[in-house]
Symmetry: C2
Subunit: 231 residues, 2 copies
């Protein structure tokens, strides 16, 4: 496989996908067109406007972008595509739409056969085994929480360390993930903003500017430096 | 109805339920026993330990507490109960357990017929129309997101204002609720910690120390002072 699952599309103070530019030139090397999957975006901007945002960035890499919503037959579009990018937004809406349209398995099959895939935030959640470690609000009810399983674990994008000065009684991210582990025997990769997971052939590594926090049942959480294997 | 739906069980720096004590004396006036519903708590502490926490507080009000998990026939226990308290934790786990055991409708029926009910956090979420405005992580897959509808709107407990200094790209609470409104025609009550909703007869008001933030489709969010009607 040839995959990037990124914590976020945009770093604080940065431009859209800018921090990933060199990696994306490598990921999509030799491609002149990819399909953008805009389904995570719950309004405010339309699928077309959201696709235009991706289009703007990829034009600088001489890669044209088609939105999956533009096709009458999205299953066929996935099978004829050269590569994919799923943008962030609300994971419940993204997973519901992919299941409702019967696309999750087709997308997974095409990525597992080697087509390059970029996911950001919600688009990274669907690379995990299931979406049960998303941070998003359950604004719609998906027919299933199951995802593509490009990696043998779950992802928590936008991983956020506890904020000591916050006088608030809501659970920290770490507490939430530890609660997940009481109900599921699945490793969770907490991806801080600035980090991404790289699948290249049979290797899976954590990359980027930040350490990555790993959660497993029966262990204290621990950290991996960029470049570490996640297998 | 005779109901309190509280944002949180515990204020920062305070003790369990302490800030609600006077209200709870009024809510449960004349009762010597209530049933505690501990199902939101995903491990770390058992149902029995969690029930003991509630028991410790209510003993000071001369009210004894039985955990719903103690009964072989929880449906019958709900129908013979005098009042209820559902504690916080993970809303997905709470709603899944209530639906799996077939208890949601029985609980709702008993509260709507006048038995006093206290919900905190996840226990307040289930008083809304559905759980689609919870902050919790979807660690389990409930058979439905539908809840009791004690109030004709949804609740967002632990409502948190944006933190301007946070250099993080995750969505603010307000953004998440606005995304909910793109998919659902349901009013959302953002309950800051220190606030609660009081149903007393045919009145529904917001109470406590904080203003309450209201979200409706097609309107800018607005605020209500304590004592305002939510009808």
């Amino acid at each position: 496989m040839n995959v990037i699952l990124a914590s976020t599309s945009t770093l604080y103070g940065g431009n859209y996908l800018e921090y990933l530019k060199d990696e994306l030139i490598s990921l999509f090397a030799g491609l002149d067109e990819i399909i953008f999957i805009p389904f995570a975006r719950p309004g405010g901007i339309s699928h077309e406007e959201y696709t235009n945002t991706a289009r703007g960035f990829f034009s600088r890499l001489n890669i044209s972008v088609k939105g999956l919503h533009e096709f009458d037959d999205p299953v066929s579009a996935i099978h004829t595509a050269k590569g994919f990018f799923t943008g962030g937004g609300n994971t419940f809406l993204l997973v519901k739409t992919l299941h409702d349209l019967g696309l999750m398995a087709h997308l997974s099959e095409n990525i597992k056969s080697g087509k390059p895939y970029l996911g950001c935030s919600a688009g990274s959640n669907i690379g995990g085994l299931n979406m049960k470690t998303t941070n998003d609000m359950p604004i719609v009810y998906p027919s299933s929480f199951e995802c593509m399983g490009l990696v043998p674990f779950n992802i928590n994008p936008h991983y956020l360390d506890p904020i000591p000065e916050l006088k608030h009684n809501g659970e920290t991210r770490e507490t939430r993930i530890m609660e997940f582990l009481t109900q599921n025997n699945i490793r969770v990769i907490g991806l801080r903003e600035g980090s991404w997971i790289r699948i290249s052939g049979d290797k899976i590594t954590t990359e980027g500017s930040e350490n990555t926090r790993i959660f497993e049942g029966g262990k204290a959480p621990y950290e991996y430096q960029p470049g570490s294997s996640l297998l």
